[in-house]
């Protein structure tokens, strides 16, 4: 029996004569910040750190109103930074850690926002 070969696009060749296109759940993973399906590329150390920070943020912001949407917005916005721009990512990571410490502090209560439509200016 021919080996099942896995490829990115989901084509599975089982028998030499039959080619099925199936949806297979790959041992790869979905990046939670962006809608890209990674496969062979494992997360780099920095990516793992960022993901861990994200999870800690979500846990810390659970009971305090207003933080979760903001956390998601910030991470989503910064996900467009290139993987190679390590200086920028590390700077944001350090800043994020300080902000996380502040979020975990018992005296921080809620996150609001003052917003102003640009049209008025």
């Amino acid at each position: 029996m021919k080996r099942i070969s896995l490829s990115n696009t989901g084509k599975v060749t089982i028998f030499s004569k039959l080619t099925l296109t199936v949806k297979v759940v790959f041992p790869g993973h979905l990046c939670c910040c962006c809608p890209v399906f990674h496969t062979m590329a494992r997360h780099s150390k920095l990516q793992k750190q960022v993901l861990s920070l994200f999870r800690q943020f979500l846990r810390a912001g659970q009971d305090k109103p207003g933080f979760l949407p903001r956390i998601r917005d910030e991470f989503r916005e910064n996900s467009s930074i290139k993987k190679t721009d390590v200086m920028h990512i590390e700077y944001l990571y350090r800043r994020g850690q300080r902000q996380l410490d502040q979020l975990k502090d018992v005296n921080t209560k809620q996150l609001g926002t003052f917003s102003k439509p640009k049209a008025e200016r």
């Binding site: 809620q110 439509p117 008025e120």
Partner: protein, 645 residues
């Protein structure tokens, strides 16, 4: 200029507040400017982390309060670190001493404008405060038998002025402020105060005349933070930077005074600005009064020790305003030193070099760096330079901020306290004695903490605050961030500084002051035409400098308007057209048979100034001086007399 469109739109600048994520349907994402606001709740918030702020913060933490300390500078970078002279306390290590003599000297130094209950409190607590600092580990200079070394300082005498020069200034060589601040910082780390470093406090959160907290900008990431608490302590320091030449750091911008002004509360005695006699000519760096305490003398171009003529008893150690005026008169009469005859010399080379090296190492270094002078060989060129603000936020002797109405007298503003140079207790009155300021910091920092501990308990529930509290501050921030007028921040600042320097200097005249008030008003109006360049929100120093400029302007207009109105000479405020002090009785003549003038007709009263921030118009009211001490039997109040040294 009036034809062009105003730099900022005058249309309604309403900001919409919501908890992040909810009710956002009105505002479409990506099309609006959003300022995230983090809310914090504490039992007490201290604004400023200099000597007074740190002492108040860890005093509160020690008493069990959940305290936050919001500061725009790292604590050890606050301007307290630059203080050189020392702390006065009647310890009696050099000769017999009594705190009541210190009380007398301070009352006389303030030219009877100081509140004697606050002065009683400060001078009585002084020995205890210094011993407490010593126990914290402050490395005071020592005498041969290991006691704290006390040096002579200006205006200090024994036996109520009749016993000669007193030696009561406890010092750490000539870097007392540096040691004090580092000692306090080290001590503060033992307690669990939450420090919010590099957070610029924008405004107080006031509701129904009560202070419910502070709103601040985090400079690091541009987020806004509201600190809700039942007790707010302001310890933000002075505003030397309203003048072109001053000994203060660039960060001395009177933020606390401005916050209080914008909250509609009055500031007290802002016209009293102290000119330190010995700032280095040109650079403006401070040469401590301790030099004169160790034996240094001031000389004019003829090599004469001119202070002997102006203050026959105290000579060079007369009170600072007397010395500043003397130097200015010598220069005006043509006996100034240097090619332009515009400064005086401070001579130290007649003192033994070992004494200079042990007791005055810092100024030896400063003189070499900033004036290129070797103090063991040549004299230092000096000029009176703006150094300290006696005025500030009016408080009672317990540190609570007060307002005043003629019907009800002094009334406490609930939830608001002030200490340090930002406050006006008033212990310094019209003129501050050297080495009393560091004492003021620690005594009143501790007093604020004690008062809060007396009236509140930790963990009390906070009163409700309206959800969009602080909206005006954020609107102002937004306006400045996108300001697109014609004048840069630095231009407007220099205009203000030069106006103040030229029109409200050591000697003031009615005509020149009036011209200054008009010019200052014009400069204030140019704030509407300001232009900033950095549109970002992260580390926007352009924005922070512009906010500081707004604060400086509010202080400057109050200073010059109060000075113009006060038609007498008292302490540091000397008018050439009104050379005498005008009290309720004429103390130069025998008192029997004199009729006491009503408060409207004399000037022994505190000025209370308020400003309308939109127009820059200053309104002045007056408040009587407190003439009785805390305990008449223990320490009798000093009745006014003629002030001569």
């Amino acid at each position: 200029m009036s034809q062009s469109i105003p730099a900022v739109s005058q249309s309604s600048r309403k900001l919409h507040f919501s908890v992040y994520g909810k009710n956002n349907s009105k505002v479409s994402d990506g099309m609006s400017t959003q300022y995230p606001v983090v809310d914090h709740e504490f039992d007490a918030v201290v604004v400023g982390a200099g000597g007074a702020g740190l002492r108040a913060a860890f005093g509160l933490s020690e008493a069990g309060f959940n305290t936050a300390c919001v500061t725009k500078l790292f604590p050890t970078r606050s301007h307290t670190v630059a203080a050189q002279g020392g702390i006065n306390a009647a310890l009696g290590n050099m000769e017999g001493d009594d705190w009541r003599w210190h009380f007398y000297d301070t009352v006389k130094g303030s030219d009877w404008l100081g509140d004697q209950d606050a002065i009683h409190y400060m001078t009585e607590q002084a020995p205890h405060a210094v011993v407490e600092l010593e126990n914290f580990g402050m490395p005071f200079s020592r005498t041969e038998d290991g006691k704290i070394y006390q040096r002579a300082f200006g205006g200090q005498s024994l036996k109520f002025g009749k016993g000669g020069q007193a030696h009561r200034c406890c010092c750490v060589a000539d870097r007392t402020g540096h040691s004090l601040l580092h000692t306090l910082y080290g001590r503060s780390l033992r307690y669990d105060t939450s420090y919010f470093v590099e957070y610029f406090a924008l405004d107080l959160l006031m509701e129904d005349g009560e202070c419910k907290g502070v709103i601040a900008l985090c400079m690091e990431d541009g987020s806004i933070h509201r600190f809700r608490s039942k007790n707010t302590v302001i310890a933000t320091g002075g505003y030397g930077r309203t003048y072109f030449s001053c000994t203060s750091a660039h960060t001395s911008t009177g933020d606390g005074n401005a916050m209080v002004t914008r909250a509609g509360l009055p500031c007290q005695d802002l016209e009293f600005v102290q000119f330190h006699p010995t700032g280095i000519y040109g650079a403006g760096c401070l040469i401590t009064e301790g030099c004169r305490g160790e034996g240094g003398i001031l000389i004019n171009s003829e090599g004469e020790r001119f202070m002997e003529r102006y203050a026959p008893n105290a000579k060079d150690l007369a009170s600072r305003d007397v010395v500043s005026r003397s130097i200015t008169i010598e220069i005006r009469e043509g006996r100034g030193c240097g090619p332009e005859k515009d400064h005086a010399y401070l001579q130290l080379h007649h003192l033994p070099p070992q004494q200079l090296a042990t007791r005055l190492p810092g100024i030896s270094e400063t003189a070499m760096i900033f004036a290129g002078v070797d103090v063991t060989k040549e004299p230092i060129p000096v000029l009176p330079t703006v150094h300290y603000n006696m005025g500030g936020i009016p408080t009672n002797y317990r540190g609570q901020v007060i307002t005043h109405t003629t019907e009800e007298g002094d009334k406490v503003v609930p939830g608001l306290f002030a200490c340090g140079e930002a406050a006006c207790a008033s212990v310094h009155g019209a003129n501050r004695l050297g080495a009393n300021s560091l004492l003021d910091l620690v005594v009143f920092g501790r007093a604020c903490a004690h008062t809060i501990a007396d009236i509140c308990t930790p963990g009390e529930k906070l009163s409700p605050l309206k959800p969009n509290a602080g909206e005006e501050s954020v609107a102002n921030l937004d306006k400045l961030r996108f300001a697109d007028g014609n004048m840069r921040t630095s231009e407007i600042r220099v205009n203000m500084q030069k106006t103040m320097q030229n029109h409200a200097a050591v000697f003031r005249t009615g005509k020149v002051l009036k011209e200054g008030c008009d010019k200052m008003d014009a400069v204030y109006q140019t704030l509407d035409d300001i232009k900033t360049f950095d549109r970002g929100i992260v580390w926007n120093t352009d924005l922070v400098e512009t906010l500081e400029l707004q604060n400086l302007m509010l202080n400057a207009v109050q200073t010059i308007n109060s000075a113009e109105q006060r038609q007498e000479s008292r302490g540091a405020h000397s008018r050439e057209d009104f050379k005498d002090r005008m009290d309720e009785l004429d103390y130069a003549k025998p008192l029997a048979g004199q009729v006491r003038k009503p408060i409207e007709e004399h000037w022994r009263k505190h000025t209370l100034s308020t400003v309308d921030p939109k127009t820059g118009k200053v309104t002045l009211k007056y408040r009587p001086v407190i003439d009785n001490s805390l305990d008449a039997e223990d320490c009798a109040a000093i009745p006014p007399a003629i002030r001569s040294y």
